[in-house]
C-alpha cells in the first residue's frame, strides 16, 4: 500500500466519495467511524481534499500523516539536531581523507620512529591529506633501512598503516644506542643515515665520545631510534718494533705489525735506532680509521 495520509471528514460517505471521485482523487482504506468518514489519500492530493471540504461543517482534519510527512514534521521541529547530525556525517566522511594517526606494524615495528620520520618527510603528516603521500618513494626509503625485507603502506579509515617486515634476528642483531668513538682522533667524515650527528668534521674526539646519536627529529621533538651510519677518524699512532737489520723487508714487517686492517695510512714516518742485537724501528703514522653502526 502506498504511503498515505488519513483524513477524516464529518460527512455521509456517499457525499464525500462523490466529491472526491468527481475531483479524480484516489482514496484508499475508506471506513466510517460514527459520523466521520475516514479515508487515505496520497500526499500530493491533500491540498485538493482540504479545498473540496473547506466548509467548516465538514470539520476536516488529518487523522494520521504519511511516513514521509511525519518524518519531515519531526525534522522541522528538530532542525538543530538534524543539522548537527548532518555536520557530523560530513565531518566523519571528510576525516577519512586525512591522516589522523600513523601506525607501524609487523616485525619491523622497532623501526617505528624512523618509518614515521620517512613517511612524514614524504608528505603524509598528521592532519595532511592521504593524497599528499608519495607512497612509492616512502616505501623505497623504508625498504633501504637495515634488515627491512617488506614494506606496505595502506589507508584504514583515518589511519595510515605501515606494515614493515624485517629479517628474523634483525632486531636482536641491531645495535641499539649511539655510535661512539673507539679511539682518539679528528673527525674527517661523518655520515648519519639514521640518527643525529653529534660532532662536526674537524672536531677532535676521545675514545668513548658519541659521534652519532640514536635519536631522530619528529616534528619539533626528538624520538629514540636506531643509529645507522659511519664516521672516519684521522688518528695518530706511535710504535716501536725490533728488527734484526735495517733492510726494506724489516721495515715492511715493522709497519705490518701495526695491524691496521682496513684502515688506510695517510702519513708515515719512521726512524731507526740501534738496539741490542739489531735495530728499533720507531714509527709515527697517521691513518684513517672508519667505524660504523648497523651498517653491513
Amino acid at each position: 500500500m502506498a504511503d498515505l495520509t488519513y483524513i477524516s471528514v464529518v460527512s455521509p460517505s456517499e457525499t464525500a466519495l462523490k466529491k472526491l471521485s468527481g475531483a479524480d482523487i484516489a482514496v484508499y482504506g475508506c471506513k466510517k467511524r460514527g459520523a466521520e468518514f475516514i479515508f487515505g489519500v496520497k500526499d500530493k492530493d491533500i491540498q485538493k481534499v482540504f479545498a473540496i471540504f473547506k466548509k467548516p461543517c465538514y470539520n476536516i482534519r488529518t487523522e494520521k500523516k504519511s511516513v514521509r510527512g511525519r518524518f519531515l514534521s519531526a525534522l522541522a521541529l528538530r532542525a538543530g539536531a538534524a543539522f548537527g547530525a548532518l555536520a557530523f556525517a560530513v565531518a566523519a566522511y571528510a576525516a577519512g581523507f586525512f591522516v589522523l594517526r600513523i601506525e607501524v606494524t609487523g616485525s619491523g615495528h622497532y623501526l617505528a620512529p624512523l618509518v614515521k620520520e620517512i613517511v612524514e618527510a614524504e608528505g603524509a603528516g598528521i592532519g595532511k591529506p592521504f593524497s599528499a603521500l608519495n607512497a612509492p618513494v616512502a616505501a623505497g626509503r623504508i625498504l633501504s633501512l637495515p634488515g627491512v625485507v617488506f614494506c606496505d603502506l595502506k589507508k584504514q579509515g583515518s589511519v595510515l598503516v605501515v606494515d614493515v617486515e624485517a629479517e628474523s634476528g634483525a632486531e636482536s642483531g641491531a645495535v641499539m644506542g649511539p655510535l661512539k668513538a673507539d679511539r682518539s682522533g679528528v673527525v674527517s667524515n661523518i655520515v648519519a643515515i639514521c640518527g643525529v650527528p653529534a660532532v662536526a668534521v674537524g672536531t677532535a674526539v676521545k675514545k668513548g665520545d658519541i659521534l652519532i646519536e640514536a635519536k631522530c627529529a619528529v616534528g619539533e621533538n626528538f624520538m629514540p631510534c636506531l643509529a645507522v651510519g659511519y664516521a672516519e677518524l684521522e688518528c695518530s699512532q706511535k710504535a716501536e718494533y725490533f728488527v734484526e737489520d735495517d733492510s726494506e723487508e724489516s721495515i715492511k714487517r715493522a709497519y705490518a705489525s701495526l695491524l691496521l686492517g682496513d684502515d688506510g695510512i695517510i702519513e708515515a714516518r719512521h726512524s731507526l735506532r740501534e738496539a741490542e742485537g739489531g735495530f728499533s724501528v720507531v714509527m709515527e703514522i697517521k691513518y684513517l680509521h672508519r667505524i660504523s653502526i648497523n651498517l653491513t
Partner: protein, 81 residues
C-alpha cells in the same frame, strides 16, 4: 428490470446482491456495505461478505445512496473475490 428480477428469482439468485455493468459505460452495484478503494482505475467495495472490484479507466462514483453504488466510466471488468 422486472423481467430481470423475475429471471434471477427463478434462478434462485438474490437480486439485491446483483451487479449490473455495461462495458465501457457504467456499473451498478447493490447492497454495498462500504467502499474500500476509489481510484480512477479501480473501485473496490464490500458487498455482503464479498469484495467486488470494478476495473477500468476514468472511473468515478456518480451516485452512492443507501447501499446502491453507481459507477460511471470506461468499465472494463468486474472481479468478485
Amino acid at each position: 428490470m422486472r423481467l430481470l428480477e423475475q429471471i434471477l428469482k427463478e434462478a434462485g439468485a438474490d437480486a439485491l446482491k446483483s451487479v449490473t455493468f455495461v462495458p465501457g459505460e457504467c456499473c451498478y452495484l447493490k447492497s454495498v456495505k462500504s467502499v474500500n478503494v476509489c481510484t480512477p482505475s479501480v473501485i473496490s467495495v464490500t458487498a455482503g461478505k464479498r469484495e467486488i472490484k470494478v476495473e477500468g479507466e476514468g472511473l468515478r462514483v456518480d451516485r452512492y445512496f443507501e447501499g446502491d453504488l453507481f459507477v460511471r466510466g470506461d468499465v472494463k471488468g468486474v472481479r468478485v473475490g
